[in-house]
Amino acid sequence: MAYKTIVEDNIDILVCGAGLGGTGAAWEARFWGQDKKVVIAEKANIDRSGAVAQGLYAINCYMGTRWGENNPEDHVRYARIDLMGMVREDLLFDMARHVDSTVHQFEEWGLPLMRDPKTGAYQREGRWQIMIHGESYKPIVAEAAKKSADTIYNRICVTHLLMDESKENRVAGAVGFNVRTGNYHVFKSKTVIVAAGGASMIFKPRSVGEGAGRVWYAPWSSGSAYGLLINAGAKMTQMENRIVLARFKDGYGPVGAYFLHLKTRTQNCNGEEYESKWWPQLQEMVGKEYLDPEVSHRTHRPIPTCLRNHAFLNEVNAGRGPIHMVTMEAFQDPHLEEVGWENFLGMTVGQAVLWAATDVDPKNENPELTTSEPYVMGSHATGCGAWCSGPEDVSPPEYFWGYNRMTSVEGLFGAGDAVGGTPHAFSSGSFTEGRLAAKAACKYIDDGKADGIRVSDSQINKRKEEIYKPLEHYKIYSNEVVAGSVNPNFINPRQGLDRLQKLMDEYCGGVTVSYMTNEKLLNIGLKKMHILEEDLDKLAAEDIHELLRAWELKHRVRTAESVFQHTLFRKETRWPGYYYRGDYMKLDDKNWHHLTVSRRDPKTGEYTMEKAPCYHLVDKDEAPAEPEKAEA
């Protein structure tokens, strides 16, 4: 093969993926490791990569202790109830106590944060959200990372982590290829921080054809964080906890600013409020502890995001769709109208494009909402990801093995979507987690834990062969048929993706089955998934760009397999509205008030599943506050 091998050796901290988590890691690594070599490997261009590529209109995680607004434990209460109890409270508390310092830095760097002209405090969208002009959010944090890293490799798709050969279960770097030159890149590193983002397009999207990439979470979020970690043998947690979002129809424009700031509401086709109708039935499923509308009214406790989805879905299934967002009232105020539009222009331009194309002006017409296909991610209103150590001053022994945000593989850290059990971190929290991981990684090296790492040429060469195999496969078999994409000896990445999405949708609870699954379906799905994996061995890539799609697909499939395993393990419906186990419809605290933890044996591919204790930090009750809806 004509591609060069480029080796970067003696790296101290390798950051894989430089979205919000990765940029935070690179930035902070420079402070704690002024003598250390920090390198970034990023699939796209760090200036516009990741979920925040087009910008954001709000920072969704800010305590405001500076203004006396919230304390970290308040945030723990909030995220815990939203996730029906299933969170890592040590990690949440830790993120929350640092997140304000991150946001204050952002402002100092020039990110335009809106302020309340009377109090001088940041303009709140909701209890946890502050409003920004965030079109250039990503270029701004990218500048911080660029000023910190020794080298930034853009356009490197990281495919595998390298493992140390002198000590079992220790990381030693990563490999990948440049999606432009095709060159093979080897990064030998003492520690690795994986911040390669969440997973979209694992389930069949609602859009079809040309619009197939019009999903809510970016189509380039390929679950690499999970694929890399699982393949390296890292333990994962809460992978069953996929998220479904209520969004503006087709454009997937977020609803948060509309509910929280513009104070809009939803109604069914008859113009009626419908959510509360479903609460009694839902209370029977989940128990009053989790759904007590009276308490929600009196205090800050939101009705969990998934339960509000449940009401939405049931109302539509009862024949009273579509659900509309009532914008016509708020949009009569020119200021609010501007906020409504700019919210999308700075974050989800596709929604504005759609409204322009369909002549929908929300001032004169209430737009339709929909529920999205499920996504797998760790930093939004859901908490999939790696099982990581917490900080030493907070975590109980089961949650602590020495270095903050280190996975169960030594020297391997996570941030943002990669870390499990830490929902509601969002952009600012992901950046903060990157900072925490970087400090811990420096400490790990300084403690001598990374001494004596060894990577043999045979490991490096084996990975190289594996990476380029789809190109080889194409070369050998493409002559078998005249032209086109039908070949008896291979499938291309798009065909593989279509198959993955179809089977996840039908067997693991996607949109076409109204998010419903059961043990039988899951087992059939898993079986089909294993056959798909056999076919992935025969994946063919025509060029380097297709090779990128091939590896994205492989990471997606690994993530999806983990979702299957976890969904099978948790025998209850913990999050109605995200998915349903038809054979165990009720939430079952007696048996399942536990976090789920899995490990895939890298040698055999076998999964081991276990329950881990779910610790609580703060009591549920606190002083009454403004009623609030959860942001999702």
């Binding site: 434990e73 019009r214 189509p219 009591d619």
Partner: protein
């Protein structure tokens, strides 16, 4: 689609190729002009549109749900620190918006952490990050700990 390139305006500079997070803006080898090689992996994120120095890239909504005849144009100006949008509905109505992208000139206000004084041992042993505790409350107040807040982690179900 959804992004497409006006042939006559594009000079093949490659800025869009450089920025597209989805790796789908490519230069056609024959015409030396850019084009979107995989419309169904486009997010309409407008990163390429904002990056094009010749306003040669445009977006047309996805064919599976968006009718023809609309446009959303953008002009991002780093020098002035603003972004301007012009939305044209299918029926001809127009809306314009202007907002800031930064409050400070680019490239100068983020410090080089390699140049700041290195952290001492007590900072390393604490839970603090760079600029903390000051940057949390913007005063000398301390970091939250469980003890200080009178909290303890405890296993179990209580709601």
């Amino acid at each position: 689609m959804p992004t497409f390139v006006y042939m006559t305006r594009c000079d093949g500079c490659g800025y869009c190729v450089d920025i597209c997070p989805s790796d789908i803006m490519h230069i056609d080898e024959t015409t030396r002009r850019a084009y979107n090689i995989e419309p169904n992996m486009c997010w309409e994120c407008f990163s390429c549109v904002k990056a094009c120095p010749h306003h040669a890239i445009d977006v047309r909504g996805y064919a599976d749900f968006a009718p023809l005849g609309h446009s959303v144009r953008v002009d991002r100006d780093e020098e002035r620190g603003t972004i301007a949008w012009k939305i044209k509905f299918r029926d001809g109505r127009e809306k314009e918006f202007l907002s800031p992208i930064t409050t400070k000139p680019w490239g100068k206000h983020i410090p080089q952490l390699a140049d700041v004084p290195a952290p001492d041992k007590s900072m390393r042993d604490s839970q603090l990050l760079f600029n903390e505790p000051k940057y949390i409350r913007m005063d000398e107040g301390d970091l939250h700990t469980l003890e200080a807040a009178g909290l303890k982690l405890k296993e179990g179900v209580y709601y």
